[in-house]
Amino acid sequence: MAKKPDLLPGTLDMLILKTLTRAPLHGYGIALSIKRLSDDVLTVEEGSLYPALQRLLLQGWVKAEWKLTETNRRARFYTLTAAGRKQLGIELTEFEQMVAAIGRVLADAQEA
């Protein structure tokens, strides 16, 4: 099994919030969605989703409710709240600023 790059620290919460912008998902769905959207580059250790989800629930950025899946199984679905959407905006801005900053440093390093 090839070694996959680790997630940048602190980005998991942001990714979860982002995947939830389209539709409410259960934990497995979130993991799957992150994997697919990143073309299998970002695979989280799937279990680590759950502590992160608890944190987000506590902050009030997501809501959770038990619903039935298409296959008629009970699963906990997470929905983004208004506060969560705002938080996502903040985190995205910060992240973009950081990426841009890193990019500038790297570009400078290449020129030199």
Binding site: Y28, A31, E45, E46, S48, Y50, A52, L58, G60, R76
Partner: protein, 881 residues
């Protein structure tokens, strides 16, 4: 989301913890199942798919833990610390029990004493706005806090502008007719504004009205609550009824509230408006009242004192005869009530505080030793990833656990101690200190205990943390781990022991000085023989005995009957008992000498003929009274030696004449004898000049009958009472007592005894703790130096030099402790000067004694480890490495 809502959410999860767990489990199981299905759909075998799904999921248990952590309180780890702390203490019960016991003793003593301090000194008096109440009396050079005369009171009240109200009161006694015969009951005469001044309202009926304290007004009375309950059955219709006191019918107008107390005269059952009817109250020069006043808003005690002093000066100019030297004293009422017990309580609180200090120091050094022996454990836990904070918290938790256990036990001890101390206070003394009835484990006391516990907890948490110093963690892992840390402990431990020993010296010296004071007090030269004297107090009802002849007749018959009782050697009467007070004084002036108006104040006692013989007081010159000295003959007096020395230095007083300040013919009396001083004053007062007048020439309707017997004086008491009732059934007889009991139970003796015993107890404990602390340090030091001692001995050191090595270290610490302690002790003794009697703060005997006791105990304690050191087998000590 705001933090509060987050915390609430955490609490919801904490209490719905089971649900949280179940939901999480289900969610995670669902996740794995989905993953498994997908893999199977992708063509994987069922078994492989399960493992692959688990791998992808990661460590499930860890994820669950992390989920819990995300929503849990960090407090939950505190429970882990606590259970670890308890396990640690259980593992080492000797340490735990010792530490907890020491703490409990220290805290118990401090809390119990504080409860007394709180009840007596901190809690305000139970009146409206008590800090505005002041005690107002006249003052003299000899009596900085004297009494008020009625005429002066009236003028003071009229002329003063600083008080919103100003009342006077004085104690009295009445004969109350009961089915069991006439009973003497204490009463109080007060001006009508008395209760209004205190801000007390009767619970039933009405307060006294203006004019009821004017001579000739209809007599009315107010009842104390317990009197109402016990004597009048608590009936509400008691108001309006009459009660006959000493032959006068009083209309009951009210009942005092249940919680009413007046410390200066708390036993009074009947409160009567003060009508200036007694002989004394008709004279400006006779002082029998006390004053209490309420300051006007904005007036300070100093301002009030200044005004009263200037009024007193005005009156002095106006009435030079009666008011010469009469100043004014104004002090807070609380000062007048508890001023005399403040020094003793503060000394006791100080003593208990020192004991607590020594207890804390002792437990701290125990903790140090333990921290030392747990260096490896701490280092291992640190190496395994315990954060420094977590380690520190572990020590703090252990400290807190100790303090909690010790504190709880200390509170129990304090409660027990309070009960015992309260029970030791005699009923008579309780009358003077009603505020001590409020002695309780109240919020104040608990707060105080909480503060002590907090301080102790901080100390016990910090000590081991400081000691360890986390940087040295790795060092602790190396085997043996001796080196610098051992030295550090030895230094710190040694310093602590010096503190302990010094504190013990302070307490021992205090106890020694107080003990010596008590001994001096109880073995004071009384000037008479106090044993085998039985005493009963007799009160004669006034209307029946208003004529002097009847009183004299009664006294004669009563004495006669008393003398005929079995075993009685002699019997006598005195209106004031020996060992009472410098009180009931008289101003005298001598015939044929120039008089500048100065007040020659002397104790004046009315005594019967055999008084000196009964007391075994020595007659120095002249004669005593005879039965012939009665109202038909010229008045005669016997004076004491102090009197003769002060007023007739180098002269023979016999035959000299004296009288009152105006030398009124009626008052002129001749000195016929001089007796050696015997104690009229209380034990710790100074000896004053005294004159003794013949009872038959100047009888009193309230007096004490004193009887000397060859047998047990207590058996006489019931016989005396019945003998008196045989003379007149109307005579009121108070519970008898014996002279020795009176002296032992006197407030002076009680206060000194309590102080000496308690501080003695504290000192004993302090000595024990200090010496045990020293033993600990030396024993530890020896155990650390076993190898060194082995090497020394292998190289030829004698056992005696090993002894010397160890004892020298102990001696150095002891000497430092004793020296520091002696300096502190003299300081402390100077502070408690008021409680010392007949000893000086720097009493060499006590100081040397303490130094010797402590030195010897310390040497004995360090001899044990020294012996162990000297018996080290060099080969074994070296092989052990």
């Amino acid at each position: 989301m705001n933090p509060l809502a987050r915390i609430l959410k955490k609490f919801r999860i904490l209490f719905g913890r089971e649900r949280f767990r179940v939901e999480l489990d289900e969610e995670m199981a669902f996740h794995r199942l989905q993953a498994e299905r997908e893999l199977i759909a992708g063509g994987m075998g069922a078994e492989d798919a399960r493992y692959a799904a688990m791998r992808r999921f990661g460590n499930e248990t860890r994820m669950k833990e992390r989920s819990h952590e995300a929503v849990g309180f960090s407090l939950e780890t505190v429970a882990q610390d606590l259970s670890f702390a308890l396990r640690q203490l259980r593992k080492n019960p000797g340490f735990a029990v010792t530490a907890i016991l020491i703490l409990a003793l220290g805290m118990g003593a401090s809390v119990a004493i504080f409860a007394f301090v709180d009840a007596a000194l901190i809690k305000p008096l139970p009146y409206a706005d008590p800090t505005r109440l002041v005690d107002v009396t006249e003052s003299l050079a000899l009596f900085p806090h004297g009494n008020l005369s009625y005429a002066d009171y009236v003028d003071w009240k009229r002329m003063s502008t600083v008080f919103s109200s100003f009342a006077a009161y004085t104690g009295t006694g009445y004969g109350l007719n009961t089915p069991a015969g006439t009973e003497p009951v204490p009463g109080e005469r007060v001006t009508v504004g008395f209760l209004r001044t205190l801000g007390v309202v009767p619970m039933l009926g009405r307060d006294f009205r203006e004019g009821e304290d004017v001579a000739g007004a209809a007599p009315v009375a107010m009842l104390r609550y317990s009197t109402w309950q016990n004597r009048f059955g608590g009936r509400r219709d008691v108001v309006g009824q009459t009660v006959t006191l000493s032959g006068i019918a009083y209309t009951i107008v009210g009942v005092l509230p249940r919680d009413f107390q007046f410390a200066l005269r708390d036993n009074a059952e009947f409160w009567i408006p003060l009508q200036p009817t007694t002989e004394c109250e008709k004279r400006r020069s006779c002082h029998d009242l006390y004053g209490v006043a309420r300051l006007k808003d904005g007036v300070t005690v100093e301002a009030a004192r200044a005004q009263m002093k200037s009024i007193a000066a005005e009156l002095e100019a106006q009435y030079p005869d009666s008011n010469r030297g009469q100043g004014a004293s104004v002090m807070l009422l609380s000062e007048a009530i508890v001023g005399h017990i403040r020094p003793i309580l503060l000394v006791l609180l100080g003593g208990a505080g020192l004991l607590l200090l020594i207890a804390c120091v002792n437990v701290s050094s125990l903790l140090l030793v333990r921290a030392e022996s747990r260096r490896r454990e701490t280092a291992v836990r640190g190496a395994l990833g315990a954060s420094p904070l977590r380690l520190a918290r572990q020590f703090a938790t252990e400290g807190l656990t100790l303090v909690a256990a010790g504190g709880a036990m200390g509170l129990a001890l304090a409660y027990g101690g309070m009960q015992v101390l309260q029970r030791l206070i005699s009923k008579d003394m309780m009358i003077g200190m009603p505020y001590l009835r409020e002695l309780k484990m109240n919020a104040h006391v608990l707060e105080f205990a909480g503060c002590l516990a907090l301080l102790a907890a901080i100390l016990f948490s910090i000590t081991p943390i400081l000691h360890l110093g986390f940087s040295k963690m790795r060092e602790g892992l190396t085997a043996g781990g001796r080196g610098s840390a051992g030295n550090l402990w030895r230094r710190m431990g040694a310093n602590l022991v010096v503190v302990e020993l010094a504190t013990a010296v302070v307490l021992l010296t205090g106890a020694g000085l107080l003990g010596k004071s008590l001994y001096q007090l109880l073995h004071l030269e009384l000037g008479f023989q106090a044993d085998h004297l039985a005493i009963v107090n007799v009160g004669l009802p006034l209307p029946e005995f208003s004529k002097d002849e009847k009183v004299v007749q009664f006294a004669r018959e009563a004495l006669e009957r008393a003398r005929n009782l079995p075993g009685v050697q002699s019997a006598a009467i005195s209106d004031v008992l020996p060992v009472s007070c410098n009180c009931e004084t008289d101003w005298v002036r001598f015939v044929g000498r120039p008089y500048n108006g100065i007040h020659n104040e002397v104790n004046a006692r009315e005594v019967s003929t055999e008084i000196f013989a009964t007391l075994h007081a020595r007659l120095l010159r002249g004669r005593t009274f005879t039965e012939a000295d009665d109202a038909t003959r010229p008045p005669v007096v016997v004076v004491n030696e102090s009197f003769a020395k002060k007023y007739f230095p180098g002269e023979d007083p016999i035959g000299k004449k004296m009288g009152d300040t105006a030398l009124t013919p009626k008052s002129i009396r001749e000195i016929v004898g001089v007796v050696a001083d015997y104690r009229d004053a209380s034990l710790d007062e100074e000896q004053w000049p005294a004159e003794y007048q013949a009872f038959n020439q100047s009888p009193a309707s309230y007096f004490s009958l004193i009887v000397r017997t060859g047998q047990d004086e207590r058996t006489l008491l019931p016989l005396l009472a019945s003998a008196i009732h045989q003379v007149s059934p109307d005579a009121a007889v108070e519970d008898g007592t014996t002279m020795t009991q009176r002296i032992n139970d006197s407030q002076t003796a009680y206060l000194h005894r309590t102080a000496a015993y308690l501080v003695g107890g504290f000192a004993g404990l302090a000595l024990l703790l200090g010496v045990v602390g020293l033993y600990g340090v030396i024993a530890y030091s020896v155990s650390q130096r076993t190898r060194e001692i082995g090497v020394r001995m292998a190289l030829g050191a004698q056992r005696s030099s090993v002894y010397k090595l160890v004892l020298k270290e102990a001696g150095r610490l002891t000497a430092m402790g004793i020296l520091a302690g002696l300096a502190g002790a003299i300081g402390a003794a100077l502070l408690m000067g008021k409680l010392l009697f007949g000893v000086r703060a720097w009493d060499a005997e006590t100081l040397i004694g303490v130094a010797v006791v402590l030195g010897v105990s310390a040497m004995v304690a360090s001899f044990i480890p020294a012996r162990r050191a000297a018996s080290v087998n060099p080969t074994e000590a070296l092989r052990a490495e």
